[in-house]
Assembly symmetry: C2
Homo-oligomer: 171 residues x 2
């Protein structure tokens, strides 16, 4: 099966559930027999969800370092972001139905990725591909281009109580 028409989704906002919703969508799409790739920016380490991606046959590639970015991102980080976007363009040619650019908004916000490069990928999306872009601080230009934008708004969060990310829930 393949999609007749694909759209551009953006999951943004300061609340929980942006990447997680994209992963849920990947799982649903895979369940329907669609070909899915998750391209992850800024993230270099393996998380619990990768185990499930592998079991389901959802492709994923990490374009990030293991270091936490403080201040201006280094050339290594910028190079990885560029490579990730190039990967997305190749994925468009390789028959993927769903392409997820996880944390791309944050990459732009941190100036690890050029906004024009991201926009260029969005504009080169083939008709049938569903393109999902996550991360807080979605740039206005992307929001205007997107078909569907959801803001995850934090109403209440236990991080405010000083609780750390937990394996299997947040990572």
């Amino acid at each position: 099966m393949s999609l007749e028409k694909g759209f551009v989704h953006v999951y943004t906002g300061n609340g929980k559930g942006k990447s997680t919703a994209a992963f849920g969508l990947a799982m649903r799409a895979k369940g329907a027999g669609l070909k899915v790739i998750i391209i992850q920016f800024l993230k270099g380490q393996k998380y619990s969800e990768h185990e499930s991606f592998e079991r389901l046959g959802i492709d994923y590639e990490l374009y990030g370092t293991e270091k936490f970015i403080v201040g201006e991102p280094g050339e290594d980080v910028k190079k990885l972001c560029k490579e990730g976007l190039e990967r997305a363009k190749r994925a468009f040619q390789e028959g993927y139905d769903v392409v997820i650019l996880d944390e791309a908004n944050v990459a732009v916000y941190l100036k690890a990725m050029e906004l024009e490069d991201l926009i260029d990928v969005v504009k080169s999306k083939p008709e049938h591909v569903e393109l999902v872009i996550t991360g807080r601080y979605a740039p206005q230009e992307l929001i205007e281009l997107a078909d569907l934008v959801t803001e995850m708004r934090e109403v209440k969060h236990y991080y405010q109580k000083g609780i750390q990310a937990r394996r299997g829930i947040e990572m």
Copy 2:
């Protein structure tokens, strides 16, 4: 593995990604070796995601009819909702680490479920269980009890353009 401490999450709001985020969380939790059950209210039919739940070993049970609810829900719908909540309580005793009550907020809103019955389940959650409740119109009493509340706010949606739900993406 099991969680040291579990929390109560609520995903609500009029935007896309509430159930999907809960499913993504289920996938991550399962990837970490946690035991997960998704209890679905108001939904009676199979969707694409169920295929992936089965492949991953995520348990799910449907407590809904195939009919779309118009007006006051019938006794059959109310009975199923009650049974679903009873199932959640049993799941608490059966070693589940993550229990998801999908669309429970909507069930309360439609008066298919008693708010007190839902609150009773939340209050009987064992310490180590992560309880996730989805659906628009989350009742205020639930929001107050929850540890984490995210509102998915619709900024832009292609349904506004008259596009129907698509298999593999919305269902």
